[in-house]
């Protein structure tokens, strides 16, 4: 009889999600469900009646780590609905911002992936915060790459977290020649670092792939050759940037998209039968607890051509460059290959940028209520925003965010792996689950004394 194990919450990614795993007597996953357990709702409703300038700013707040992707996708969905064509130099600035964001994201994800991996030739897992070499130099390189990505993003986007420069119709400001030169210098420095970092990460992932076993929470488990394999297919709108309904040949199609309820997709109610207190971090859910994925999942299940698909680095490389390595390691390696691509793209755009040109459309029609969509290739995958704008006001708005596509796909990719490696598979997707608030709640026994109050 199948056993049921639950890992909740999953760790080393953005947001809150959990894994409910039906396993056989050997602990191999027969069916797994990975689902978001963060309820966040109402952006579609909130957008109605707002201006086309407000809505992308609202959209960029739904996530703490993807504001750039949501801001660009939101703006371009407005432009697509209104029929606004932006100047070439504005487009170049947006691509620079996009690539800078991707670079930071890959580097951050390196830190999240490394603790599952081994130092080649040893049975020692990597602690990215170790003061020992070679890890220390790698960690410093990662930090520098993150810094370079964020600095380029700040120069092109106006601010380093929530970009202020993009707007409907193009960008508020072009770059000064000095800023352009600075980006060029940073990109050249970053390219060399990224190449070394890519090679290091690929060596680490290949080493893991060759290993027979991994240790998780004191348990030694076999690493299957097919770790993370699935047959769900891929979806990507562009190798680097995106596509929209304004394109001559749009590379995403709303007619192929459909959405079903979690009820139709996830497993029904069941009881946790086994628990493992030593599983990091803090053990699995105690046995006897009830799990009900189809009721608990907080996101719908988007389908493309009637099935869930993978989005992200491997999807981009598969659709546009014929990359075909399957599984978790294939996915991780695809992500590393985007490091240098992103830097080359920045250099190409900086070369082409004319600092004296206008970056704002001459004409901004106010919209006739047509449906427009924009698919932005965010670090984690295709981020589609759909909008209808009429007379300057948003009538309809919807967001199909990357990890929502990946939840059901990754769920299928869990089958056949030891349950202890489910999080390794999940982390391969660099998941970003919707954020809630970050409000601090000061505990009862830490109730503030009067002198801390600001009068």
């Amino acid at each position: 009889m199948s056993k049921v194990i639950e890992i909740s919450p999953t760790t080393r990614h953005e947001g809150h999600s959990k894994l409910v795993l039906k396993v056989d007597d050997q602990g191999i996953i027969e069916r797994g469900d990975w689902l978001s357990i963060t309820p966040v709702r109402g952006v579609e409703k909130l957008a109605i009646g707002k201006t086309y300038e407000q809505v992308p700013k609202i959209a960029s707040r739904v996530c703490g780590i993807c504001p750039i992707a949501h801001c660009l996708a939101g703006i371009e969905a407005m432009e697509a609905s209104m029929g606004v064509y932006i100047p070439e130099d504005a487009y170049l600035l947006r691509v620079i911002l996009q690539c800078a964001n991707r670079i930071h994201s890959i580097a951050l994800h390196n830190i999240l992936s490394l603790p599952d991996m081994y130092l080649p030739g040893t049975d020692t897992k990597i602690n990215p915060f170790s003061p020992e070499e070679p890890v220390r130099s790698v960690a410093k390189r990662i930090q520098r790459i993150r810094e370079i990505g964020q600095t380029i993003g700040e120069i092109s986007g106006g601010e380093c977290v929530h970009p202020s420069n993009p707007r409907v119709g193009g960008m508020y400001k072009n770059l000064q020649p000095r800023a352009k030169a600075k980006i060029y210098d940073l990109a050249k420095e970053g390219l060399a670092l990224a190449r070394d970092q890519m090679e290091f990460m690929i060596a680490i992932f290949r080493n893991y792939q060759k290993r027979d076993w991994a240790e998780v929470g004191g348990m030694q488990v076999p690493i299957p050759d097919t770790l993370g394999y699935h047959n769900q297919g891929y979806m990507a709108a562009d190798p680097v940037y995106g596509s929209s309904s304004l394109d001559e040949n749009p590379r995403w199609d709303p007619a192929r998209w459909n959405e079903v309820r979690p009820w139709d997709w996830y497993m029904g109610e069941m009881e946790i039968t086994d628990d493992f207190p030593n599983y990091p971090v803090g053990g699995t859910t105690p046995k006897g607890t009830k799990a009900w994925p189809q009721m608990e999942a907080c996101t719908g299940v988007p389908l493309y051509d009637g099935q869930p698909v993978e989005v992200g680095p491997r999807a981009r490389l598969n659709v546009f460059k014929g990359y075909d390595e399957k599984g978790t390691i294939g996915q991780q390696i695809a992500r590393q290959m985007e490091y240098t691509d992103a830097f080359y793209k920045i250099i190409e755009c900086v070369d082409a940028l004319n600092c004296g040109a206008s970056v704002l459309a001459d004409e901004i029609p106010q919209g006739d209520g047509s449906l427009g969509w924009a698919a932005n290739e965010a670090p984690r995958g295709c981020d589609v925003h759909l909008a209808r704008v009429k007379d300057g006001r948003v009538q309809y708005y919807s967001m199909l965010v990357p990890t929502t596509w990946n939840f059901p796909t990754c769920s299928r990719a869990l089958t056949g792996a030891p349950w202890q490696l489910a999080e390794v598979i999940m982390r391969g997707y660099d998941p970003c689950v919707s954020c809630a608030t970050h409000m601090i709640v000061v505990d009862e026994d830490r109730r503030l004394v009067a002198e801390k109050l600001i009068q």
């Binding site: 990614h13 966040v40 952006v43 703490g64 780590i65 951050l108 409000m439 709640v441 801390k452």
Partner: protein, 157 residues
Amino acid sequence: MLFPRVVVAGCGNPLFADDGFGPAVIEALQEVDLPGDVKVIDAGLGGPHFIFTLLDPEVTKRLIIVDCADFGAEPGTLARLSVEDLPPGAYRDAHSWDLAEPLQRLKDRVEITIIGCQPKHVSAPDFEMGLTEEVRAAIPKTVSFILKELGVENGAL
């Protein structure tokens, strides 16, 4: 240089009513002339992964965080908190890589002040925009407090 000697970060999500206090204070600070070595940043929900884990303590010596915080006072009340006052996990990087808290890593090398404002209404999980009157009224006081902390004279002080 991504981050200068002094960083003021406004944290929180404007989509959850009073949770937008931090970014609203940043918007107000952006209207003020500040010294060249001070940077004010609308951190939104990205503080841990875009700022706190990227600060170089060799360069940045002062970090002021503005956020809403529930400490059981009247809405709009402000409190000055230190890293020790925070419950575990308050600014854990949402990516929680090794469950280490980025501010714990920094606190011995960077002077950190957290300005918390007691919210009246945080709408999560539903999106709702706009601060309540009480919390909005706390913005000017917060701006003055930060300017005083930074040693900046302005006409209002």
